[in-house]
């Protein structure tokens, strides 16, 4: 079955058989299923210790997934990601003890959170760590690996201060600048994920539910954009995928953004920050436009 290119119709009936033809083995699929089960367990976990253990399980499973899917060449480069993740999950326990017993500052916890997410001031490992991941671990690392730290972050009373607003704006700005210089789709998605970190932070202000709504909408379109890398989709879809990632109104992601905006207005978010967030998002279409321009050229 060489040269088999599955269509959109085939992906509706996705199964083990189809995936094995694409080069996935059984063990990796087992790890993926187990990974999502543990993610669901994590979302139901109540106390700190069990959630910490589940995070460790999740990162272990993620290592197994990417190990089973990547070449020997890629393994050596992926190790950056694992070192940073394991370091930060150690820090979680350590800083928890420091903060709770010795009443250290909450800033230690925030720093650890920033490293784990690869957010603005501490994203030195971000492009190095992510770029060589194979596509399925790349997607999981971009989305579902970020869910547990953000979920834990909601329990910490950080307080919506000026620092919070500044970090939102800086993440969006730096994400825009970095996605501009991209020459491959993977780098663009990495830059835009830095940019959406800002949106995630702002959607956390009303509550975790609005974050989940935005997160789930964004995840669907990120899957579609990642299918573009693997060339499984007809490329005519590229315009719609990117234009909805940019948040143009008739498309679904706009409604998620509008929900977040309206709930932010209810929670008396400062209007200047809100307007800057909206206006800066207009530039994102410029950067996405490079990847759908070439479809409309004849030659």
């Amino acid at each position: 079955m060489k040269g088999f290119t599955p269509s959109l119709f085939d992906f509706a009936f996705i199964g083990f058989y189809n995936l094995e033809m694409l080069g996935y083995n059984f063990s990796s699929l087992f790890y993926v299923v187990l990974y999502f089960i543990f993610i669901i367990f994590f979302l139901f976990s109540g106390d700190f210790f069990s959630s910490w253990i589940l995070i460790e399980f999740i990162s272990l499973l993620f290592i197994l997934i990417s190990y089973s899917l990547s070449n020997s060449n890629a393994i050596t480069r992926v190790i950056v990601y694992f070192v940073v993740q394991s370091f930060t999950s150690l820090c979680l326990l350590f800083f928890y003890i420091l903060i709770s017993l010795l009443s250290f500052s909450i800033w230690f916890f925030i720093l650890r959170f920033l490293i784990k997410l690869g957010a603005f001031p501490l994203m030195f490992w971000y492009f190095q760590g992510f770029y060589y991941l194979p596509i399925v671990p790349f997607f999981i690392a971009l989305r579902f690996q970020k869910l547990p730290p953000i979920y834990i972050f909601t329990f910490v009373e950080v307080g919506v201060t000026n620092f919070y607003y500044c970090s939102i704006l800086l993440r969006i700005l730096i994400g825009l600048f970095l996605s501009f210089s991209s020459l491959s789709l993977k780098v663009l998605i990495l830059g835009s994920s830095l940019y959406t970190n800002g949106w995630f932070l702002s959607s956390l202000v009303p509550g975790f539910s609005s974050f989940l709504l935005y997160f789930s909408f964004y995840t669907v379109f990120l899957i579609l954009a990642l299918f573009l890398i693997t060339n499984y989709f007809p490329t005519n879809c590229a315009f719609f995928i990117f234009i909805s990632l940019a948040g143009m109104p008739p498309f679904p992601l706009f409604f998620a953004k509008a929900y977040v905006l309206f709930s932010l207005v209810l929670f008396s978010f400062p209007l200047l920050v809100l307007f800057l967030v909206i206006l800066l998002s207009s530039f994102m279409l410029l950067f996405y436009s490079r990847y759908f321009i070439s479809i409309y050229l004849l030659n």
Binding site: P121, L122, M123, F124, Y126, F127, Q128, I174, F177, L178, F180, S181, I243, A246, M248, P249, P250, A258, L261, F262, S263, V265, L266, L271, L274, F275, I278, L279, S281, S282, L285, L286, S289, I293, Y296, L297, L298
Partner: protein, 563 residues
């Protein structure tokens, strides 16, 4: 071909039925006054979310005109697209375009209006990139990016009005005056191509001609101005909006007229005349006569669409060459299209008792009643002068014999197209008198001495044009490469939006190399050199603009001071 024809005839029947419905609603609302048709869908956090269909004189008459023009465009595109494979695709896209325009016109709930507002932007991208060339993709992306800016501002408007309005529509209260004012103003200016955002409009002629006649006459470019007219109670409650609208409108129409003098692309001349008319409508809005602005919007839509379709048929007969020097002596080869062009040029200039005569002269007379300074009036008269010049240039290129190809393609146009186009041009002759009889403008009376100025300008123009044509030195100054570059760039605006901004962004690549590794090295080593390089570019660019913009901004300041 036959399949396409039957397809279009069925659609045109449906469209004409809807158009007649809107005409009936117009008569109803003219007699009994406006009313609101409302369905509440679900409550929103602060205000309810509903379908609010406003039926009044403005919306019904404008949607009738839009449907009429789109009907003629549909029929015109049967012959225009007979050699293309993507005919049906084109019809569906155009259908969505007209639909989103109707949504924009008829609904007043902001959450619904933005669907139409942005549907126009997205669908216009597909229409502009129809030919799939490098030029068309450039102008398509340029258009969609400017539209995206306007769309972001519209979302901000929704956020602002969700504080105050009980029904998520345009609603005025006094507290957030300044930001709301700026956002409303810039948002509507992006769509209507007023001063800083105008270069997308001449670029959009890369679309096929039936679409240009739809876009440049009634649908896309008038959206912002229409929303100002519709929500005039909100917009006019700002103090300084009149002054801004007048100055920007006069300036826009001034440079559009200037650049159309130096343009040899026939289609682009017509597009630039659209730009100057948009400035004129903006001026009428700034004077406070929103009903005159609406009147000119309608008449302009009628004559500009028929002009575009006639020019488009000429271009199709000339093997799609658009250069006006290749159209020499076309009046004998395509007499029907040329006569349509003659009639619509007459309306564009404001020939007596045509529709353009009523709408244009009332705006000029309304200007005499305002308290603006004499300099602006001079600019306005210069605009009229330019209108004469470019309309004469179009006619001159068709009638006179310079050089060019002696062969042309004979295209047999559809009978229905000829019928509808004749109907449209006849209607746009009569429409002026008809609309004047609907609303009473008898308040506007001026001394007859002022009325003589435009015909005097006409004589002035002929002497001027004669001098330039025959004087050796003047004709060389006229066609100097610096001047040609200046006006073909639309006063450097194209240069600003494409070259300069991209240079600034590309200078950020060194910035990015640092920030991919966290950005610490940037702050330690190279921030100063980066900022210096960006500022050097910026200052060099400013110097290149200096001569013209200092003059214009100085004049604008002068106007402010004297006002």
């Amino acid at each position: 071909m036959l399949y396409l024809q039957s397809y279009v005839y069925i659609w045109s029947l449906i469209i004409s039925a809807i158009a007649l419905f809107f005409l009936w609603r117009f008569v109803y609302s003219y007699i009994f006054g406006p009313f609101v048709f409302l369905i509440t869908l679900f409550p929103f956090p602060q205000s309810e979310f509903s379908l609010r269909l406003n039926i009044d004189c403005y919306s019904t008459l404008f949607s009738f005109i839009v449907l009429l023009i789109s009907l003629v465009v549909f029929v015109f595109s049967i012959t225009y697209f007979q050699s293309f494979q993507k005919g049906v695709y084109f019809f569906w896209i155009t259908f969505f375009f007209v639909l989103s325009m109707l949504i924009l016109i008829n609904f007043s709930d902001l959450f619904i209006v933005i669907l139409g507002w942005d549907g126009l932007g997205v669908v216009s991208f597909f229409l502009i990139v129809f030919y799939q060339s490098q030029v068309s993709i450039f102008s398509g992306v340029f258009t969609i990016l400017i539209n995206r800016l306007g769309d972001c501002l519209f979302i901000i408007l929704i956020v602002i009005f969700s504080f105050t309005s009980p029904f998520l529509g345009f609603f005025w209260y006094l507290e957030n005056s300044y930001t709301t004012f700026l956002v409303i103003f810039v948002c509507f200016m992006t769509k209507s191509a007023i001063f800083p955002f105008s270069p997308w409009l001449p670029a959009a002629i890369a679309a096929p001609t039936p679409i240009s006649s739809l876009v440049h006459s009634s649908t896309l470019v008038t959206a912002g101005l229409y929303l100002i007219i519709r929500h005039r109670n909100v917009v006019y409650s700002f103090e300084s909006i009149g002054l801004l609208l007048v100055i920007l409108g006069v300036f826009t129409s001034f440079y559009a007229g200037c650049s159309s003098l130096f343009e040899s692309d026939l289609k682009k001349v017509v597009a630039l005349s659209t730009l100057s008319h948009l400035g004129f409508i903006c001026l009428a809005l700034g004077l406070g006569w929103e009903i005159l602005a609406f009147f000119h919007l309608l008449t302009h839509a009628l004559f500009k669409s028929s002009l575009f379709m006639a020019v488009g048929s000429l271009i199709a007969e000339n093997y799609h060459y658009q250069d006006s020097r290749y159209f020499s002596f076309f009046s004998s080869r395509a007499p029907y299209s040329t006569s349509i062009i003659f009639i619509s040029e007459g309306r564009l200039v404001g020939f007596s008792f045509f529709s353009g005569f009523y709408s244009k002269d009332y705006v000029l007379e309304a200007f005499h009643y305002s308290s603006f300074c004499f300099l602006l009036y001079c600019f306005l008269l210069l605009n009229l002068f330019f209108t004469f010049v470019y309309s004469f240039r179009i006619l001159n290129s068709l009638v006179c014999f310079y050089f060019g190809n002696s062969y042309n393609l004979f295209i047999k146009f559809d009978f229905y197209h000829m019928f509808f186009l004749s109907f449209l041009s006849l209607l746009s002759i009569v429409a002026g008198k008809f609309i004047v009889s609907l609303w009473d403008f008898s308040l506007l009376t001026i001394p007859s001495g002022l009325k003589v100025i435009p015909p005097l300008l006409l004589f002035l123009f002929f002497t001027f044009f004669y001098l330039i044509q025959n004087n050796f030195i003047l004709s060389h100054i006229w066609a100097h490469p610096m001047i040609l570059y200046f006006f073909s760039n639309i006063v450097f605006l194209v240069d600003f939006f494409t070259n300069f901004l991209s240079k600034v962004l590309f200078s950020s690549i060194s910035f990015n190399n640092h920030f991919e590794a966290g950005g610490f090295s940037f702050f330690i080593f190279s921030w100063s050199s980066w900022f210096l390089s960006v500022f050097r570019r910026y200052i060099l660019y400013l110097f290149s603009l200096n001569l013209f913009y200092c003059l214009i901004l100085g004049l604008a300041l002068f106007c402010f001071i004297t006002f």
